[in-house]
Symmetry: none
Subunit: 160 residues, 2 copies
DNA sequence: TTTGGGGTCATACTTTCGGCTGATTTTGGG
DNA sequence: CCCAAAATCAGCCGAAAGTATGACCCCAAA
């Protein structure tokens, strides 16, 4: 029973079309028995039927074929300027300045925007130690503050 | 002449339908003169016409109804690598962040390694004012300290 | 064994920075 | 002329950064 109802729902349009056609044929048979139609204009009659069923066909097409939505994806390129990722560590300057590995690490994190406390946490050392390395770093780079150290470090190719 | 051609192209389906109908009517008139059709099965004949024109209607519907088009615009970021030496000021980001000219000036001098006092001297303003601009700058760049501001500023293309 | 380099840590102190509050003046657009 | 935004300035205070001093540890080379 549910299967039959499902069938009805699905093919509603087709069933309606069949019923309509059957009714029309019955009407036609009735008129034929009356002998009214064929005494006048056959072309007009046929033409009316043709147009009527064309309209039916159009209606049927609308029902059967869901108009597919065509999705057009337009990609618009937005240019984003990115500095070249070609950082080449300047080993020569590193040697020349006599920086230690630890000092370079501190400089890198400094440039990344971390506070001394945060640097300590990341390198698993105390704030005291960060300050010591920092102080030594400034001396070797001949600067007075971290912003200068960062600027000098980038210029010398020690940090990206 | 071009307008007529345009008309033909646009209403191609409708014109075809009209021609087809006219031809059918002519055929029917010819058969009527032969008195062949009405001696057999009228219902079969009418039924055939009905189905034929239904098919025509369906075809017409397919032609007349254009499938809806939905346009989606997708912005694709295209990374353009520029040599490091070619700093391109990111005007868009500047506008977006709502920085003021003065704030940008302070950021530039910050990145160059100057202290607030020194920045004040260079811009002919007081230490107080530098601090104010600095504070506003941090807010707009969503950072907590100058090293972060510098880092963010470089990333966003606000400073070289 | 001694020496030098690098790393770690603490403490005390000074300087600079950053947040907050409030006020006034200047500038540019409607 | 009016108004909002930008710029300027001051004062106070705690946080963070920077300086100076000293101590201890480890390791390799002389």
């Amino acid at each position: 029973m549910p299967a039959f109802r499902d069938f009805l729902t699905r093919h509603k349009a087709l069933i309606l079309y069949g019923v309509f056609l059957a009714l029309l044929l019955l009407l036609l048979r009735w008129l034929e028995l009356r002998l009214l139609v064929f005494n006048h204009s056959t072309e007009m009659y046929i033409g009316a039927i043709a147009i009527l069923f064309t309209a039916l066909g159009i209606w049927l097409a609308m029902k059967l074929t869901r108009p597919k939505e065509k999705t057009i994806i337009v990609e618009v390129e937005k240019e984003v300027y990115v500095p070249k990722a070609e950082f080449v560590f300047n080993e020569a300057e590193f040697e020349k300045r006599g920086l230690s590995r630890r000092e370079l690490e501190v400089l890198e994190l400094m440039a990344a925007g971390f506070s001394n406390q945060e640097i300590g946490a990341r390198l698993f050392i105390s704030l005291s130690t960060v300050k010591t390395h920092s102080s030594n770093l400034f001396e070797k780079l001949d600067v007075k503050r971290r912003t200068q150290a960062i600027e000098r470090g980038k210029k010398l190719g020690l940090i990206p």
